[in-house]
Amino acid sequence: MKSLLTMCGNGYKTLPEVSSERVSIPWCGVSRSVLIDLAVTQRDEGQVKKFIKSPYTTTLGGFSKVTNFLRDVLMTPEESQNLVRPQSEVAELLHDDIPGMEISQLDEPGFEMVTKTKLPPRPTVKRGDPLSSPEWNAFFDAEGRISKIDELKDIIFRGGVDPAIRADVWKFLLGFYDWDSCSKKRQDQRKRKVDEYFRMKLQWKTISAEQEKRFTLLKERRGLIDKDVMRTDRTHKFFAGDKNPNLQVLYDILMTYCMYNFDLGYVQGMSDVLSPILVVMENEVDAFWCFAGAMERVCHNFEMDQNGMKVQLSQIHKLMQIQDPELCSYLEAHDSGNFYFCFRWILIVFKREFHFHEIQRLWEVIWTDRPCTNFHLIISLAILDSEKSTLLENKFGFTEILKVGLC
């Protein structure tokens, strides 16, 4: 639950007056209050049993006691009266007859359990226009510093970026340039990065074939990269044709990344992360650093223990338990509760699930970190939601569900 809250924390930040810290504090309070309740009062063992039997209800019960206590102690009567919302605001909620809501009083005496609620129809969301070149230029002040960074990110989140200025904008989104840098600083930054890139490139370029015989790890990685470069997006015109010079650039960047992050090295899937970036940058050094920035976001996906992947897949599971319990139980009942069938989506952030131009748009939206850093998990839920009827109506089993992840 905590990870879920942390995950949503950023999302809450957009709401005034509710910070992620404030969201998480009451939860710490809950468990503590229950413990105090259990330890101090010790009325009888019944309370402990109750907690073990239904921790959620007991916890929330404990929570409400603390709330009442705090309200009485900390607030004057006038203040607490002000807290009561006008009847007109909550009338709709209090109305007995909310369509789709089922309330059961059988399971937990003294509590009403809402077993099913039907959310109102989804609001229509209209995508904005992509950030245009004049708009982008207008964001820079006299020193070449971006003013109103948040506003800019909002535009990108809602509409993406005009392909004509992608190479410039992505450099900020991927950390090649700092958001608050001025033109002068960026010139220096770029110069430094060019030097650093060629220094690292020389490191592997100068290893002789003879030396490589005693450098198995590098040799193995070279072999992997060699094979993957030959089979990355070869149908895209940028990489098509047998003697395409861009293949060499792809190769050089991946080899240099090996030196940049030797602990991670090269893992299948990384060339997928690089390819759309190289197509946009059309420049080896820029593409390398932007790739390094993009990898910063997803490198945990490629680690040997695969822990980063497991965590994210279980987060999708937790989110779905709340968002769509029906689909969630169906997947659990068909051995798919580990959400392994979403593996490729998460690993390379939907790269193989969308067309090339679509993935460039999706990625720039995700890189704004709006509305939260883990927005890709919500996107996964949305995709599953769109496949829900197919899944349920056709009574898909384990194998068919796995296939959904690969369509």
Binding site: K227, D228, T232, D335, R344, N394, G397, T399, K403, G405
Partner: protein
Amino acid sequence: MSQSGKRKADLKVIILGDYAVGKTSLICRYIDGTFRKQDSTVGAAFFFKPWGPYNIAVWDTAGDERYSGLSHFYCRSAGAAILAFDLNCPKTFESLWARFGSILDAANEDCLKVVVGTKSDEVDEKTRDVSSEEGRRLALELNPDLDEAYIEKAGAPYFETSALDNKNVTEMFEYIFQRCLPLSADQHRRYKGKTSTIDLLEQSSDGGGRKKCC
């Protein structure tokens, strides 16, 4: 979602093997009848093939060692496994023992394991490192349940293939389907109306024959 997504598979075949030995090319040669440069497989890929009255699901896996855990998961309820290695790269043959034996734990108990050497078009008989005899031996060791009479009749589950030259690819897949889904007039009737569950252990009298059916 494509129409094929709604069909259920009668047999699940999984292909395992090291990085870039040509797993996807092998499948595409059989299913599309073509050979072209393949993108590397990330996670897994899925192919569907009707064969006689049956639907065959062929699961392609990623060769990168990091995704072994995932391959293990994809093996679940596989009726046949193709263990692919590059005939020109002995290391990929060793991997079949070292890496993929344990992955197959999740497959069906009677899962047929077929050892398949790839890229036979590149083999130089004078310098080849993995002999046909070694390949055959591994295939027999992996399938202790195959009785001698069957091997005598249908051959060992070992094939040397070339997706480029289209050599032995169809023969290999046919071997698997004939063994796992034997066709007979009797069974045509029996399986009518049944969709997904079949008894893979049961074998018809003429099950071992090499009959063309599709």
